[in-house]
């Protein structure tokens, strides 16, 4: 069995590992998909910010990189996840450049409002070289 296949299976049957590592399952998740090639977008650098409600400045919460499945677990802990305006910044042009491709967008930023931090929020990014989309998923 390949190492990658083993990794996939472990993720499905041992979800508590994720919980222990991140401190919580995380109430905010993302998933980056390369729709141009029909694969998860791995090794995409991303940064999560929250906007300071008084100064409007962006505070860095986490920076990370998507894994082989295009996901980035442990974006934010339950304690950090308060109501407010957040921004996910994805280094998309860097991602395309690493594959020798150009792209129309130097990066993608998605700004969204969290009113109820008790809920689960999934904010995927579907990406090709000349298009992208996002939505509140699950």
């Amino acid at each position: 069995m390949s190492a990658l296949r083993l990794q996939h299976i472990q993720r499905h049957i041992l979800p508590e590992n994720q919980q222990t590592m991140a401190g919580s399952l995380g109430t905010l998740t993302t998933h980056v998909l390369n729709t141009g090639m029909g694969v998860p977008a791995a090794n995409v650098a991303l940064v999560l910010y929250r906007q300071d409600s008084s100064t409007n400045a962006w505070t860095l919460i986490t920076s990370g990189t998507t894994n082989d499945d295009g996901r980035c677990p442990g974006l934010i802990t339950k304690e950090q996840f308060t109501a407010g305006v957040y921004k996910l910044h994805f280094e998309t042009a860097q991602y395309w450049a690493s594959m020798g491709e150009t792209s129309f967008y130097p990066y993608v930023e998605i700004v969204f409002t969290i009113n109820d931090p008790e809920q689960k929020y999934h904010v995927p990014l579907l990406l090709s070289r000349f298009s992208y989309s996002t939505y509140r998923g699950s």
Binding site: P106, Y107, V111, T113, S131, Y132, S133, T134, Y135
Partner: protein, 119 residues
């Protein structure tokens, strides 16, 4: 009128939640000053009845560089008495050949949006 005819950059905002063009939405165009690393606002407009906004920039002003289109989507949904997940949408793109035409639509609902380089 002349600006609308020769506009090298156009946009079209569609409210996919209701299946209608998104009219009366404020849109601003900015270009990044590559030395100072600040955004300069170049043009401001409002989408018409068909959700379109042309004349944001003239052919002469349209040089190579990094641009940003900012759509006041949150205000749009508010004006319709609806909430939205996104307070606004900013699309940042790179123009390397300003001789071409660029059409950047925004398809949006209260909880999703997509954009692409169209024609």
């Amino acid at each position: 009128m002349a600006a609308a005819v020769s506009s090298p950059l156009t946009t079209h905002v569609l409210n996919t939640g209701d299946g209608i063009p998104a009219s009366k939405m404020a849109v601003t165009l900015h270009r990044l000053d590559s030395e100072l690393k600040i955004w300069n606002m170049l043009g401001v407009g409002t989408t018409n009845e068909d959700g379109r906004c042309s004349g944001l920039i003239s052919q002469e002003a349209f040089t190579s560089g990094m641009y940003k289109l900012r759509f006041e989507t949150g205000s749009y949904w508010e004006s319709r008495g609806q909430t939205s997940f996104f307070p606004y949408v900013e699309v940042v793109f790179t123009i390397t050949d300003p001789g071409q035409r660029f059409h950047l639509p925004l398809l949006m609902s209260q909880f999703s949006y997509s954009t692409y380089r169209g024609s």
